[in-house]
Assembly symmetry: C2
DNA sequence: TACATTCTGGACTGATTGGTACAGAATGTG
DNA sequence: CACATTCTGTACCAATCAGTCCAGAATGTA
């Protein structure tokens, strides 16, 4: 079995994800993808099948990484600190470029809601997975007595998600990270989780 | 000066806006637009110049109408009731189809942020105009003593806007209006404006 | 070194994109 | 009725789109 693959698949996938993340599905053309991924057309179709298949793979990658951030913070942070840790990790502790790109799942939902329902459902599902992770951590906090058991953990998680979605849109507006920081503080105080 | 225009310009513009609103800029093709507007290619270019020019006109129309809703509610509602009135008017007191379309300005920002900066700036400006209208009404309420003068009116308006953006994204997810209603109540209680 | 196998670059396809050109239909004025 | 003017339908354009195809380059095995 001679001639091995001449490019790093996961590296190419990562480059594609960056591009889709920044420019969306429709506006990212195949030639642009090939250039960013550093591969040729035939290698592309041999390894990734279609543009849409590649997009799905990128979306899953992005969703998994985002979920990993939440789960990761859960290891070291108290559940009450989780929303702040998540906002800081994804909006402030990243390059200005990444912050401006917002969240790939949110971008996808807004771009493709009426255009490609299956992709919309996939992105929605991934967002719900993140919301569930928050809900689980709040339930845990209630059992530990860290969090008032009167509040419904699911509703609190839903509030965090609405705020989160709002902040993602704000980060795609002209706003710099300097403007974003007080917004995050303000949001946390709305949630009753201020410092 | 013989032969008058054979179509209703504002009606055609309205049809175009509906389509752009639902499907976004890139995914709406010229043939689709012509069909929805009920005019032919030459009439289109004679009256609207380019697809992009038409989109700008639609975006301005949408922004003006949204702002008119805020200003309109201001005539009859107390400033403290304004956020609820706005959410209800734009998310619940509309058809399910319209609710699912979200907000055209938000959709535009997310679709075109990196693709067409001038359009992004236009949509951002329109969103800021709405935020300003909220801020003005809160300042007024403080002078009337309806609202605690300790709170900063601008920051309260910014909070309303973040929540608003979050709800617009939620409305583009699979969520029905039945699921949206408790989210609105929950959001108002975060803002300290619950019933 | 020779072969089988696998990958790669570039030419090509048909469809679709936004935009233009122009002939002819329609209508108000004289 | 004739003309000038304006609008509209259609054919057309170059560019770009995603996707296919195949000749030839590259490499592990024998």
């Amino acid at each position: 079995m001679p001639r091995t693959l001449e490019f790093d698949r996961s590296q190419a996938l990562n480059a594609a994800m960056k591009l889709f993340w920044a420019r969306g599905y429709t506006a990212t053309s195949l030639p642009e993808l090939l250039l960013a991924m550093g591969i040729s057309r035939s290698s592309f179709y041999a390894s990734f099948h279609t543009k849409r298949d590649l997009f799905i793979e990128c979306l899953v990658l992005f969703g998994d990484r985002t979920l990993a951030i939440v789960e990761g913070e859960l290891q070291t942070q108290s559940p009450l600190e989780l929303p702040r840790a998540f906002f800081v990790a994804t909006l402030l502790d990243v390059s200005a470029r990444k912050a401006k790109q917002g969240c790939m799942m949110v971008n996808t939902v807004l771009e493709l809601a009426d255009i490609d329902p299956p992709l919309n459902r996939l992105a929605s599902k991934q967002l719900r997975a993140i919301e569930s992770a928050f809900a689980r951590s709040f339930t845990l906090a209630q059992k530990n007595g860290e969090l008032d058991a009167g509040l419904c953990a699911d509703e609190l998680a839903a509030r965090v998600m609405t705020i989160n979605l709002g902040l993602r849109v704000q980060s795609r507006l002209c706003k710099s990270q300097k403007e974003l920081e007080p917004m995050i503080e303000s949001s946390l105080s709305m949630l009753g989780l201020a410092a």
